[in-house]
């Protein structure tokens, strides 16, 4: 969820970051290492935010400053993240951490069936919902959002009206990566509470797919993330209830749905598509 929100922001500035997976891994690994060393998962969250941001900044540097191909840079970042976290995380494979605590919301969490599913989570999970609203307001209602979208549509025009496209893109990509880092931390600190190589298992790519599905809207990205996360959770839950479903089939639903969205909403999709995603601005801003 965090990762797709972050990618929405980055792509709104006209930069695709295929390296979300790498940022998530960096965040997950950094969070785990810090949590293991300090004993505090909350410091781990901060580390994840920083690590994810730093990683994405590398992407911003290559793409914005050096004018590198976005797709190549993003993929390189993904593999770099995989290798680096495998290397640095190695000594921590056997180390245990104090995971993030689940907090039940009094009253609501006792509701039958959905109660424990909806109202019994860690702080990161609760925080993502207001964050999505905030980001929606930021993108569509704030002055900063206008600047962000202007840069994403046309760096030239934005530059012409006195904005600094490169700075805004740096900020957007870095912030996006930092959010992806939080997404990684959520896995390593809350869900899995362990570190292994390639912990995120391709979830970063789902995030990228979700952004297209959500048509670059933070709120829709949330709905999509819940839907897709829900599909995976549902198939595991159906199995736990003794209903036979193929886990392989359900694991590909995010991608299938994205293709369907691309087919059906092609025209509307084009309208929402930040035009700047297709090119790289070489101004001096």
């Amino acid at each position: 969820m965090y990762a797709s929100l972050g990618e929405v922001i980055a792509q709104r500035a006209g930069i695709t970051n295929l390296g979300v997976e790498g940022c998530m891994l960096a965040g997950a690994c950094a969070a785990y290492i810090v949590a293991a060393e300090t004993g505090s998962p909350y410091l781990g969250i901060i580390a994840a935010f920083a690590a994810g941001g730093l990683f994405a900044m590398l992407h911003a540097f290559l793409v914005v400053t050096r004018g590198a191909n976005q797709l190549a840079s993003g993929l390189a970042l993904m593999f770099l993240g995989l290798g680096m976290t495998a290397f640095f995380g190695r000594p921590y494979v056997k180390v245990q951490i104090t995971p993030l605590r689940d907090y039940a919301i009094p009253g609501l969490s006792d509701l039958p069936y959905l109660g424990s599913v909806l109202f019994h989570h860690d702080v990161l999970t609760y925080a993502v919902f207001p964050l999505a609203g905030l980001l929606w307001w930021f993108v569509f209602r704030s002055r900063w959002g206008v600047m962000l979208r202007a840069v994403g549509e046309s760096t030239e025009s934005a530059f012409a009206v006195g904005l600094h496209p490169a700075r805004i893109q740096y900020a957007a990509v870095t912030f996006g990566g930092a959010l992806a880092g939080l997404g990684g931390a959520q896995i390593s600190l809350a869900y899995a509470a362990t570190w292994v190589e390639n912990l995120t298992q391709g979830r970063g790519f789902i995030a990228v797919a979700l952004v297209i599905f959500a048509m670059w809207n933070p709120l829709r990205a949330m709905v999509g993330a819940l839907l897709f996360g829900g599909a995976v959770a549902l198939q595991l839950q159906l199995q736990a209830r003794g209903v036979g479903v193929s886990p392989l089939l359900l694991d590909m639903t995010p991608y299938l749905l994205t293709i369907v969205v691309l087919l059906v909403w092609a025209q509307r999709g084009r309208d929402a598509f930040p035009a700047g995603l297709t090119k790289v601005f070489r101004g001096t801003g």
Binding site: G83, Y191, A193, R203, A233, A240, G244
Partner: protein
């Protein structure tokens, strides 16, 4: 612009990264990358030369699909390598994170370049690459873990972990209060199905009402999915978890957090669950690896499918946790004795599958291991469907 000073930092990061990757490559044991070009011509000669005189140092290569400290499958096999290394005149080379693809062939050829005459490809999917490389190097012996077929110089070995899971099932059947057990597994391979079935049969032998719910994650190691599955099972009232995953650690911790009992796999994971730990089916490859290496060096090894059991000590039950009371421990010990003496056969008929159909006829003896390893059904009492 304001962010310029950061550029230097980023370059440093790049540099550090390149260094890190370099180190990683070395750590993975592929240190003679530059000499790999024309292997086929030179190394059969090298292989037979060192094979002829067994008093000389024997080089042995080990391939692992994951990391050797994964707290699971690979760690167990690595313990075997360590035992082999203690032999005189032996040099071991290991390669971790070797994918089950043509990459494995390349790694094995490199090991042969370094003089390896015995190779242990330890992952299920390393078998076909080993057979391929074996055709090229007839003087090298390959000993594959878990393989269901052999070649002229490729033998296999494995162990009946399902025997230990039957005993773990007894502990689980006694511990459960809801009579609902859970099993989180990766893929429906026959060895997994054997484990699940034996676990359920073991539980049922002491608790007729016990059922086992299976969840397939379709991944050998995805801790987030494992934890999610554990939560779901818990929500369904399941209070004992067993797993067939390469990295069972996450699941054991999730079960402990949820207040469930837990059965591990591959290695002893009791430290992860001080309250809920029951036991685990674990491997002890040390003796077998040493025996096999000695046979190959002495020229007495014959290609075969070695299948060990609890009786050989290759499959063991991990130490019990405090959640297993004395009387249950005694009962398990008694059952284990019957199992070792052959008095008890886990898959003796009648064995019925989930639909109630009789798969092993009443009165029939337990089939041979090779035919058991073809198992493609779940027994009565297991809830969940085999995905296709």
């Amino acid at each position: 612009m304001g962010i310029l000073p950061l550029h230097a930092g980023r370059w440093l990061l790049c540099l550090a990264t390149v260094l890190a990757i370099g180190l990683l490559a070395v750590a993975c044991g592929s240190d003679d990358e530059s000499e790999t070009t024309d292997g086929a011509a030179t190394s059969p000669a090298a292989g037979s030369a060192s094979g002829a005189a067994s008093a000389k140092t024997t080089v042995i290569g080990f391939l692992y699909v994951g990391a050797v400290d994964d707290g699971g499958y690979n760690q167990a096999a690595y313990q075997g390598q360590l035992a082999v290394e203690k032999l005189p005149n032996v040099k071991a080379i290991k390669a971790e994170n070797v994918p089950e693809s043509a990459e494995a062939e390349r790694v094995m050829e490199q090991m042969i370049q370094q003089g390896a005459t015995i190779i242990f490809p330890t992952s299920f999917g390393h078998l076909d690459p080993a057979i391929k490389v074996g055709e090229k190097y007839p003087n090298v012996t390959f000993l594959h873990q878990g393989g269901l077929k052999t070649a002229k110089n490729v033998g296999t070995y494995f162990g009946a972990s399902w025997e230990a899971n039957y005993l773990a099932g007894i502990a689980a059947g006694k511990a459960t209060k809801s009579n609902k057990l859970g099993y989180v597994v990766a893929f429906p391979i026959s060895q997994t199905l054997l484990n699940i079935n034996a676990f359920e049969l073991g539980a049922k032998s002491v608790n007729a009402a016990a059922t086992t719910t299976v969840v397939f994650t379709a991944n050998w190691c995805d801790p987030a999915k494992i934890s999610e599955s554990v939560k779901n099972l818990k929500a369904q009232g399941v209070d004992v978890l067993n797993q067939h995953q390469d990295c069972p650690g996450a699941g054991i911790q999730a079960a402990e957090k949820a207040g469930m009992f837990s059965v591990g796999y591959h290695v002893d994971g009791s430290k992860l669950a001080p309250n809920g730990w029951l036991t685990a089916a674990t491997w002890d490859w040390a003796k077998l690896f040493v025996d096999l290496v000695n046979q190959v060096r002495g020229g007495t090894y014959k290609v075969s499918q070695v299948r060990l059991s609890m009786a050989d000590g290759a499959v063991k039950l991990a130490p019990f946790g405090k959640a297993v009371p004395k009387d249950v421990r005694d009962q398990i010990a008694a059952t284990q004795a019957k199992l070792l003496s052959g008095q008890l056969q886990i898959f003796a008929g009648p064995i019925k599958d989930q639909s109630g159909a009789e798969r092993i006829a009443a009165g029939a003896k337990q089939p041979e291991v090779t035919s058991l390893e073809q198992m493609n059904y779940l027994v009565e009492g297991v809830i969940g469907k085999i995905p296709n």
